[in-house]
């Protein structure tokens, strides 16, 4: 029933959103749980399978590394922009800026694909090309940075991407130039608008945007760029495209977080699952990873010179998650809760509500909950919960030790941007247990229970009151 409702939701929201579905491991028998006898899913499956995965290794970013290489360490959010003068294109950039801290927390690197030449792109991704709404913010922030350098922050965009104002940030965005203007676009199925001029409603939307939010309508767009070109977004993990959003309306910009968390999707439990798709030759020793910087095949690639490796390393420093991911046992990433809920399940009462427990255990609910948590800046609690749950299920001491170290570094370390909100007494208890007794299976039990009782509870209380809950869960039931 849940599956059906979801399809309806899709249709209601956007007729194009259906392509949004995702594939996970093809051998996942469980997949049918999520969309029983849904023919469309078959089509969607070939939809993503049919995408040009092989092109990822030739799409070179401006720092020299390819999208494929990036996707070995990060989740890549590949955004095909319309053309630089377009307000929707600018709005996409603004959207990315505003959810950047969440993207970083989820180890996701945005990469823009553009039709224009490299030079034009350099101009766009700079102070000069910065969309108006960002310029306004910039002016405010400039003052702040000069006066209040070390105050308060350590998590924010400006700090994680090297402490800087937004114009510097613009320059640091990775981008890929399309060699023929629209070659990659075509290969990825990101098409020009069918109606020659972009539709009337989009034009109207564009005017509204420029009026209400200060975007500029630029007449002097690049000659190279096709103005009828539409936008599209893809999620790439471990050399494969795993999720997509293509649209036939110029004004439609996806919720990037939603795309990333695959809220519409039919199975991928979380991002760590996405990472597991790979044939990643993971190393056990964290040190060796830091030395090699990235996975071996990347180092072996002959075209990669030192500068590029340095660029990659620099990027990696902004992503604390990525540095340590490879050190995790593989089952952790693959782990998936096979329990699935439906309306017929005896555990659910007749009222249209779910308990906190359900919303955590059921992967589909948890995704929506995670999306909500990300939007209220509370995602770290849930990411910790997922890892602590994975930890409890690990069988061998060696694997537990690796994951324990990862959890401690990521969630208990007060320098981590994903530090969770627990008392220092509790933190001390965990650290001293780890030191004295090692990676015992119960190591994080108390923290997890306590989080379920306060931090996660607080988010959940607000979640059940939210529109997102109404739309995605209450109505779906």
């Amino acid at each position: 029933m849940l599956g059906q409702e979801e399809t309806n939701l899709n249709q209601k929201e956007t007729s194009q959103n259906d392509d949004n579905a995702i594939i996970i491991e093809p051998n996942d028998n469980n997949a049918t749980d999520y969309h029983p006898d849904d023919i469309q899913s078959q089509i969607q499956l070939t939809g993503i399978e049919g995408l040009p995965h092989h092109l990822l290794s030739e799409m070179k970013t401006n720092i020299g590394v390819t999208v494929e290489e990036l996707s070995r360490k990060h989740i890549v959010l590949l955004i095909f922009l319309r053309y630089f003068g377009c307000v929707f294109c600018q709005k996409s950039v603004v959207q990315i800026v505003s959810c950047l801290s969440n993207l970083i927390k989820l180890n996701c690197v945005p990469v823009f694909v553009h039709q224009e030449s490299k030079e034009e792109a350099d101009e766009f991704f700079s102070e000069k090309g910065m969309p108006k709404p960002l310029i306004k913010l910039e002016k405010k922030e400039d003052k702040e940075i000069t006066v209040n350098n070390q105050a308060l922050t350590s998590e924010t965009v400006s700090v994680t991407f090297e402490k800087s104002a937004r114009s510097k940030l613009m320059k640091q965005f990775l981008r890929v130039e399309d060699p023929e203007g629209t070659y990659y676009y075509k290969q990825f199925g990101v098409v020009p608008s069918a109606t020659k001029m972009v539709t009337f409603t989009s034009t109207l939307d564009a005017f509204k945007l420029s009026l209400t939010e200060g975007y500029k309508l630029t007449p002097d767009a690049s000659k190279k760029a096709d103005r009828d070109q539409l936008a599209g977004s893809f999620i790439v993990a471990h050399g494969r495209i795993v999720n997509q959003f293509v649209t036939h309306s110029a004004s439609k910009i996806p919720d990037f977080l939603e795309l990333l968390l695959d809220v519409e999707g039919k199975g991928s439990d979380n991002l760590f699952d996405l990472l597991s798709i790979s044939d990643d030759s993971s190393t056990n020793d964290e040190e060796s990873i830091d030395k090699e910087e990235i996975v071996p095949e990347f180092v072996e690639t002959s075209q990669v010179n030192l500068v590029e490796r340095k660029n990659m390393k620099k990027l990696l420093q902004n992503y604390p998650m990525a540095r340590k991911l490879a050190s995790l046992p593989k089952e952790v990433m693959k782990m998936k809760d096979k329990r699935s809920f439906s309306c017929t399940s005896a555990q659910i009462d007749l009222s249209c509500t779910i308990s906190l427990e359900e919303s955590l255990i059921n992967p589909q609910y948890r995704k929506v909950f995670k999306l909500f948590a990300a939007k209220i800046y509370a995602i770290e609690s849930l990411l910790f919960w997922e890892h602590a749950t994975a930890y409890q299920k690990l069988k061998t001491l060696k694997k537990r030790r690796q994951l324990a170290q990862y959890i401690i570094d990521t969630y208990l370390n007060s320098d981590s941007m994903l530090e969770i909100n627990i008392s220092s007494a509790m933190k001390k208890r965990v650290l001293s247990t780890f030191e004295k007794e090692g990676a015992i299976p119960e190591l994080f039990d108390d923290v997890k229970v306590s989080m379920e009782g306060d931090a996660i509870k607080d988010s959940f209380l607000r979640f059940v009151e939210s529109e997102l809950y109404d739309q995605r869960i209450r109505k779906a039931k």
Binding site: E213, T353, I376, I420, S423, D454, L461, E467
Partner: protein, 358 residues
Amino acid sequence: MGNIVVSPHDKEGQHHMMATPTSNNPNGGSAATAKNKSEITVLLLGAGESGKSTLFKQVQFFHGVGITHDQERIELIEIVRLNVLENAKNLVAATQHLNIPIEQPENRETAKLIINSLNTNDLEDPSWSKRLYSLWKDAGIQKAYENREKFQLYDSTEYLFENLDRICSDKYVPTVVDVIRTRTKTIGITDMKFDVGDGKQLRLVDVGGQRNERRKWIHFFNTVDAVVFLTSLSEFDLNLYEDNGYWRVKESLRVFNEVVNNALFYKVPFVLLFNKRDLFEKKIATKSFSKYFSGFNEAEEKNPVACIEYMTKLFLNEITEHPLDTVSVKTLSAIDHDNSKQVFEEVKQFIMTQQHRE
């Protein structure tokens, strides 16, 4: 719910994003929103347990936001009972930590159960009301409670134990006061909006206060029209939840300094609220205030007015950048409905007047 929007994020809003500024969206909103002059954004800031969310809840209640969904009610019952258990656990743990034995054998039994197995569902059984109350009244537990500055304990402890007969029942329905009194640690951000006349809306933003939460604050600093900074008067003998070796007053002063002198807030009205005045007055009756402040005249330490005056000076001394004529200082008892209402009304007036001047 009337005219109040409490949803932190509006999914449906995505569709209208082109037409209306997404002020409802704390994530995309800050960057994508052109400033809407008819909306006044007021941030509640302050270190952990300074009472931001308590004031926020009060404002919600006196603007007519009640407990609407059954689900919310169920969650609140759970939260109240979790508070009871957490308090009980902390007290029992403290007796061990401080080497104060629990005196009565049957209370020791209860304590064991609390530590090992008791959960919120058990509290539906009225017999727990008596057992927990008896434990609470145990001389050992009371002695630990007198020494509560030595460990972390919620302010609501006494209130909850005195109301066990209601809470431990399958018919329990949380009252407004219960909800105000229970402690929930706020994570991230939450906001509400209400009309303030003149076609204007006030958007009140509540945030978490512990160190890890403060890293997130910068995300909301862009579109601020006023800041209300809370600090707890009764924290003078307490250390931090997130860093048990660190004095809370020092932390509050530090955070206040960072916020009030932040260039983003030069031009916005700034309110400093000394909260928990009720607790503070009770506390200085039995505890020494001057012990913690070497510069304070010991002879005055039982006089709340003198103490508060001293604290006020301490905080105002931190202001180096912000123009003083746009700073207002008040005391507050956020758990007191009438007092909250009155103080918040004054704060609102102050902000509106300052806005007008601009």
